[in-house]
């Protein structure tokens, strides 16, 4: 019983370290990508006039994943920044996926179910948004 509890403690600790690393690297990578795109963006358009007084909404290349990938191929600065944003948004979602793996290793059925519910709500939001 005692040894059983010990091993469980170790995996909980491992999960904390793993999740901490995922969050840290996700933020770091997204920051670096955003800086790279940002400098390139300022070099290209820095002398322009900002226009954010009216809302333009969808239609731009950086509002969809395919658009971002297409823009990256052309070396477009705004799409590089947006890739950084996508990595940032993906970081907490990847964190959930890692928690799912950790709960599976711990054989915690209740929390595997709870994690799956959260993950499906986010996926629903992601793909539901496409049709709106």
């Amino acid at each position: 019983m005692n040894t059983n509890k010990e091993t469980k403690k170790v995996t909980d600790y491992d999960m904390q370290q793993l999740i901490g690393q995922v969050l840290r690297y996700g933020v770091l990578i997204s920051g670096l990508v955003a800086i790279t795109g940002g400098i390139w963006y300022l070099y290209q358009q820095g002398s322009g006039i900002p226009d954010y007084g009216t809302f333009h909404g969808e239609g731009e290349g950086y509002t969809s994943l395919t658009g971002i990938i297409k823009g990256l191929g052309k070396g477009s600065a705004t799409e590089i920044i947006q890739l950084g944003v996508v990595i940032l948004i993906a970081t907490p979602i990847i964190r959930i996926v890692f928690s799912l793996v950790a709960f599976s290793l711990e054989r915690d059925k209740l929390y595997i179910l709870i994690t799956l519910i959260v993950l499906s709500i986010i996926l629903f939001s992601m793909f539901g948004g496409l049709s709106i």
């Binding site: 969050l23 002398s47 920044i81 996508v86 940032l88 959260v118």
Partner: protein, 277 residues
């Protein structure tokens, strides 16, 4: 004003927002929205997109440290994320049907509430006996303190879950982390000890914001020209804040910041009623 000057001023503003947000525990998003709308006259929808990005950046950045120390209750966070993510999706849908001036007024009201919450005294002590559901859901845990591991148990799980749903809706509608409501749910309803409730709330903000950010990105709310100075500024500010937090007493800072936030909030509400958005 050229794009270069706009970017540099926004970078500085985002840095201060991240710094103030991490020192007071309010998060980066609450300052970003008034800064962009009242100062730069940016459309509130771009401001909401930027605030969401700022919330995810500060949450993930600081959560990485707290999670490693073992203060964050990952199971509690995961369970309550059902409520906050479902709420965030509802909020993002509601946003389509909500006029921008109503969004501005709601934002102002939430700001005043958050300011009041920062000054409120939190529960320090831990409950010795939890409710039945807290055992079933394995939410009772312990956290490291100076005197060693402190055990705590939770109650009123249903109440906390309901407030979390509301926190999620507001987060999805306004683009903020709504950390104040999250702490209210955990602190007042479920009696989670203060250190655990603030870090677990912060841990949840990233996932909650991501749930609505995937919708807002596709709707064009997140503009790269605004997003990049905001991400970099807020991250740098939050980092400085976390280093400073160990050394300075934030009591007075919290009071001053709360009054400043309230003044900004009244301005947002006034402009909202006059349809200036």
């Amino acid at each position: 004003m050229t794009i270069l000057t706009f970017t540099l001023i926004l970078l500085l503003g985002a840095y201060l927002a991240g710094l103030a947000g991490s020192l007071t525990g309010l998060g980066g998003g609450v300052v970003i929205i008034p800064l962009l709308t009242l100062f730069f006259h940016v459309d509130i929808r771009y401001a909401i997109g930027a605030a969401l990005v700022a919330s995810i950046a500060t949450s993930s950045g600081s959560a990485s440290a707290y999670v490693k120390e073992g203060i964050t209750n990952i199971r509690l966070g995961m369970f309550l994320e059902i409520a906050t993510t479902a709420g965030a999706v509802m909020g993002a849908v509601l946003a389509i049907y909500t006029p921008v001036n109503i969004v501005a007024i709601l934002f102002g009201v939430t700001l005043i509430f958050s300011a009041a919450m920062t000054l409120r005294k939190k529960h320090e002590g831990a409950l010795a006996e939890g409710s039945k559901l807290s055992y079933v859901l394995k939410l009772n845990s312990s956290y490291p303190a100076k005197q060693g591991l402190v055990d705590y148990k939770l109650k009123n799980i249903g109440g906390g879950f309901s407030i979390m749903t509301l926190a999620g809706i507001l987060s999805g509608l306004l683009g903020i982390g709504s950390g104040a409501l999250k702490v209210l749910a955990m602190d007042s309803a479920m009696r989670v000890p203060f250190r655990v409730s603030t870090t677990t709330s912060n841990f949840m903000v990233g996932v909650t914001a991501a749930a609505s950010a995937v919708v807002y990105l596709q709707r064009g709310y997140i503009d790269p020209g605004i997003a990049f100075p905001v991400i970099i500024g807020v991250l740098a500010g939050a980092f400085t804040g976390s280093k400073l937090l160990m050394r300075i007493d934030v009591k007075w800072l919290k009071i001053i910041f709360s009054f400043a936030i309230t003044a900004i909030a009244l301005n947002m509400i006034y402009n909202g009623f006059n349809h200036k958005f």
